[in-house]
Symmetry: C2
Subunit: 204 residues, 2 copies
Amino acid sequence: MSATHSGTARVEFWFEFASTYSYPAAMRVGAAARAAGVALDWKPFLLGPIFQRQGYESSPFLAHADKGRYMWRDVERLCAKHGLAWRMPSAFPRTGVLAARVACSHVDAPWLPDFVRAIYTANFAEDCDIGTPAAVRDALVRAGVADPDAALAFAQRDDEKPKLRRNTEAAQARGIFGAPSFVVGAELFWGNDRLEDALDWARR
Amino acid sequence: MSATHSGTARVEFWFEFASTYSYPAAMRVGAAARAAGVALDWKPFLLGPIFQRQGYESSPFLAHADKGRYMWRDVERLCAKHGLAWRMPSAFPRTGVLAARVACSHVDAPWLPDFVRAIYTANFAEDCDIGTPAAVRDALVRAGVADPDAALAFAQRDDEKPKLRRNTEAAQARGIFGAPSFVVGAELFWGNDRLEDALDWARR
């Protein structure tokens, strides 16, 4: 059943692999949506172009030192609260472009959620540079992908690459300004804190 | 008993009367702290000088249109969730300087929490300009203050006025960059969403 042809409750989960607060959301959203009986659409996108339109050269957490300091401690506390592994990354923000391309090209693959979680785990629990092809390939292996090299190559085809830009434009069209974000119909919810509210809204 | 001489769990609640997200927090924090058995210190301060140091002329919600649009809808949803009255203010941000001076000068008065809630209700449920002496006086009356004119006059004495600036400087010293914020010992929690986490932390 598709979203437009059924009454199934659905939520779009918009995430960026560089985003710290997307990490706990990505690790929780699958089980939470399943428990709530809400169908889940994984929506990888890039924050870079969105932050640039806001006047930031990189992450706003780098531009605002107090907020950045707070964010690191807050995410550490959140991970402890949710029982998630956490290791302060030695580089931030890391580029998630290749990983996001793979996610866009294989968004309906059964291994997609495991791949997403493997990338986030590498970035925020293992301090790995997720920007390299080797790291992305490793996440594909961890997700049980039979032919990781083919999956990587497919995502880098010229006719596949525009998917990520289109997702990023679709995010902007929905008014998304940060990650993670959840969209339920016309309603936007921003932040890991809003996961439960978004699922509640989808079930109304 | 004072915070320094007892083992009582305590939380500081840092709020700014112009702040939208401080509204649901201010309406909830008294009952929530009481239910948790946590002592509460009301800490009025001004966001203006803090936002200016971040490079903003006014509220960041005015500087970032998408985020501003989202905030209004999000606060409306939050108020519905918490059963709080909500009316979109026709002016934002309103100056809460006089009200904050009154709160600073009477922070230990038994009527202080009711006064704080009356100001927030005027701003965000009744669309009143809380910047006027008449509106602040009205909130004092609603809080049951026997001599509202004396309370107002006291807060505007030259030897009382510095209290608000000192609170704002103390907020900055704690690394506070937005409102509402909660402080438990050395731990900072930012946002209405973190009220429960802050109280949990205080009880550890």
